[in-house]
Subunit: 190 residues, 2 copies
DNA sequence: TCCGATAATCAACGCAGTGTTGACTTATTT
DNA sequence: AAATAAGTCAACACTGCGTTGATTATCGGA
């Protein structure tokens, strides 16, 4: 997409630095993680860190951006292989989260980042809106609240699923989220 | 509850320091707020800060604890004046959040604290569980997921309500949350 | 395969914020 | 008015910051 591929050294540095931060995030919030700490864990020089990122939050942001992008792509109905099939889209998203489970678990946890969760919710919200509006064209009272409700609720289900060690299959979780969301929407008209 | 009342000076210090932090939190995340900054804004000596709190996160934690306590109390059905009336309980909670709207808005925002949201969700979750289990004694498949779904969804509704400037009345929002939650639960059996 | 370009390393820098101390001043309680 | 507790102030060593310039290692293309 953007010109040539990055230098192998750069790729390595970014990778090792990201992994080190994620490792540290398991033990404490980003507020208490220092650049020095990250560099020691990564085995790189501090100056190298600064040539790529401004501070630990900036690094965290770049990790988050990748994951949000991954979800966004899979939230596009056309690309998820299911056309307008919401279940298929959800399975795609759940599968992607499983593939990056360790990272998602940390970032969505208590010591994680509120803004990351917020970004994920936004993507879900938009997708739900696109999908369900086809079925209920006329906007009921307080419709926007419902999409927020089910989007955040869905993320909650995913969080719990991750915390429990992903005992259930992707399909099961996708189906559960689908049913709960559909029910929430149905409840509006009541 | 715990012995005598605190010295007036202590009460003032804690108050002004909390307000200063909340003010700063409007502009940046807690990760980038320094003790020095807080003290300048509060007009107190740095040594005074350290005699009460360990660091900015510790101070933030104490603010959060108060609010979580406030919600917990109102989530007790017996105390919310409505017996087992879930609507009344929700109205009580929503009213409390409105009374502390500025603070809740900041803490539940993107730049807020993931652990605070998490604590609030926990309280709601437990309350929903107590209430609804009376109506559906036999636990359906994946019941725990539903409570997480509706608890987080409820917090999402509150977040949106705060962001929109609380245009709707407490009763309206409480009713909306009640309806969405009930619907989510009903959807499980389907 | 060699060469120019790009990255990473290292040591050093002044600077800002930390957390603690002890001597002091000021406010509160009884 | 005296005793107690809290806040102020200046100073301290220390840690981490962010940047610099010189040096070494690695990469990718001609």
């Amino acid at each position: 997409m953007s010109g040539k591929r990055q230098d192998a050294r750069v790729r390595y540095t970014k990778m090792v630095v990201k992994q080190s931060l994620l490792e540290l995030l398991r033990t404490k919030p980003v507020a208490k993680i220092t650049v020095t700490e990250i560099c020691e864990a990564a085995g790189i020089n501090r100056a190298t860190f600064y040539s790529h990122y401004a501070d630990p939050s900036d690094l965290l942001q770049s990790i988050e951006d990748e994951l949000v992008e991954g979800i966004t792509v899979r939230a596009q109905p056309a690309l998820s292989g299911g056309g307008t099939d919401m279940r298929a889209t959800l399975r795609g998203i759940v599968g992607y989260i499983r593939a990056n489970a360790d990272t998602f678990r940390v970032l969505l946890s208590d010591t994680g980042d509120a803004s990351f969760q917020s970004q994920v919710v936004s993507v879900m919200e938009r997708r739900y809106l696109d999908f369900w509006q086809a079925f209920r064209p006329e906007d009921a009272e307080g419709a926007a609240y419902i999409y927020t409700f089910i989007a955040l609720g869905s993320v909650g289900v995913i969080r719990r699923w991750l915390d429990e060690g992903m005992l259930r299959s992707d399909a099961e979780i996708a189906e559960l989220i689908f049913r709960l969301s559909a029910a929430g929407l149905a409840g509006l008209g009541t």
